[in-house]
């Protein structure tokens, strides 16, 4: 703000009063006011444009600015302070059970296709479930399985390892450890195995790279 912005000390009494009135009118108004609206409330012969220009200048460096929008005037929070009027609420939520189960399968079975996830879960998974995991940054599309239909393969990310405190994907507990922790109960049929996950950047033998369009934001829709 420069010195000449100090409206009232420089202006004669009547001008000062007119400025105060314009200020109050604009402040209290529920909508932007045209110069003519303001003029109709001022003493006869007031130079509304000059008054508005003076106020505009006076407020130009303040937390609130007088701005002209669509030919009308209004007070508005200074643009550089607009962050004050936004509040980012980061809502901490627990992952839903389907999402958690899907994530677990992706973690252990990666690279894994959606059909394979559904096979383990025994129920189909909604597209939203994988989307939530991808938005959270824990799951990514890795490539496409070299198989009929070329389904997308999913895997976990570095952010996944960080969040779950894993040094490497190989640190996920295996069959014996799961059993030892009491998470799997005793009788395990022959042939039952916990796979060795692979989350490296390099593709596995039966993976092809993703198609160019797969990584577009809208490209999440695969395997309809």
């Amino acid at each position: 703000m420069t010195d000449d912005s100090n409206i009232t000390s420089l202006a004669p009494e009547s001008r000062r009063f007119a400025l105060r009135l314009v200020e109050a009118l604009l402040f209290a108004s529920g909508e932007p006011l045209a110069a003519s609206d303001i003029a109709s409330r001022l003493p006869e012969g007031s130079d509304v444009d000059a008054l508005l220009a003076e106020l505009e200048h006076a407020y130009s460096a303040r937390g609130v600015n007088l701005v002209r929008v669509a030919g009308k005037w209004l007070f508005r929070t200074a643009p550089d302070l607009s962050f004050l009027l936004k509040r980012d609420l980061t809502e901490a939520r627990r992952l839903s059970r389907p999402a958690l189960e899907t994530l677990a399968i992706i973690a252990y079975h990666q690279p894994v296709t959606r059909a394979e996830i559904e096979e383990v879960r025994g129920v189909s998974i909604s597209k939203g479930t994988i989307d939530v995991l991808m938005e959270q940054g824990w799951v990514r599309m890795r490539g496409r399985r070299r198989a009929p239909g070329r389904p997308v393969t999913y895997g976990t990310t570095e952010a996944f390892l960080v969040h779950f405190g894993l040094d490497a994907i190989g640190d996920l507990p295996g069959l014996e450890e799961l059993r030892g922790a009491g998470l799997l109960d005793g009788r395990i049929p022959p042939g039952f195995a916990v796979p060795e996950p692979h989350d490296g950047p390099d593709l596995t033998a039966d993976e092809d790279p993703l198609d160019p369009g797969d990584l577009l934001p809208s490209g999440l829709g695969e395997e309809q």
Binding site: R76, T77, L95, L100, A104, L178, P189
Partner: protein
């Protein structure tokens, strides 16, 4: 009654005083616009043009009684509380004029007069307070808040959390379900009648003696869960074979062992 109107009240209430209170019309009968005896007394008191603290209660009682008398001459219907107040004031007057009895019960005349003066002062004080309150710069009437407030925009983002333990539990639970379902399929393996018939047919040629059915089914009764289905199917098949004349069946009593024999070996032990 215009002379009784309070200046301050008149300022903000004015002519609307009577018209503006439909809500308690039912609660009292106005005496020329008064709200009850206390209101009337307060108006009368003001005609004395002295500080209410120094008002003559005796004079006030006379004024009130004279006023009520005048209204009754005009045959106006008076609400009961005005008459009660008149009676009380007449009593108060007598207490103030007569010497106090030596052993008086209850408050003295002076105390009653002081209490009435106090109530009048307090009512007036509250009316003044109301007038001062209502004449303040009131938000929305005299002063205005921001006409177009800029609301705080809340953008919410969800951060999901889960622990490694949650993850492992979710994984193990699913795999466990998968395991259980596999076992389940095996357990539901059932012998059909055809299976029973096939086994029996294969055995029949060797049954010269009465033989308990369980004996030659023993190779198939390895697990307890197979027992019921094997026995049931074999028994059903045996009945069918009996009907066809290909086997004989004997049982000595309910739930006793079933014996089977080849009909071709007839007479071996008869």
């Amino acid at each position: 009654m215009a002379e009784g109107k309070d200046g301050l009240i008149a300022e903000w209430e004015g002519a609307e005083r009577r018209a503006n209170r439909p809500d308690d019309e039912t609660l009292h009968v106005d005496v020329d616009g008064f709200e009850g005896p206390l209101d009337l007394l307060l108006s009368l008191a003001r005609t004395q043009k002295v500080d209410l603290a120094r008002i003559s209660i005796l004079a006030l009682a006379d004024q009130y009684l004279a006023y009520i008398e005048k209204l009754r001459e005009l045959r106006l219907e008076l609400a009961a509380d005005y008459l009660v107040m008149a009676a009380w004031l007449a009593y108060l007057k007598s207490r103030l004029l007569l010497p106090e009895p030596a052993a008086a019960e209850g408050p003295s005349g002076e105390e009653m007069a002081a209490a009435l003066a106090f109530r009048l002062q307090r009512l007036e004080a509250m009316r003044d307070a109301a007038a001062r309150l209502v004449n303040r710069d009131r938000l929305g009437r005299d002063v205005y808040p921001r006409g177009a407030p800029e609301p705080v925009e809340i953008s919410s983002k969800t951060a999901y959390s889960a622990t490694l333990y949650d993850l492992l539990m979710a994984y193990a639970a699913q795999r466990q379900r998968q395991m259980v379902s596999i076992v389940h399929v095996r357990k539901r393996q059932v012998w059909s009648l055809a299976d029973g018939r096939e086994i029996l047919t294969r055995m029949i040629g060797r049954l010269a003696e009465w033989t308990p059915m369980e004996v030659f089914l023993s190779p198939y009764l390895v697990t307890p869960e197979m027992r019921a289905t094997v026995l049931a199917s074999s028994f059903g098949a045996s009945l069918e074979l009996v009907r066809e004349g290909r086997v004989l069946v004997r049982q000595s009593g309910a739930f006793a062992p079933l014996y089977l024999r080849d009909p071709g070996a007839e007479g071996a032990d008869d």
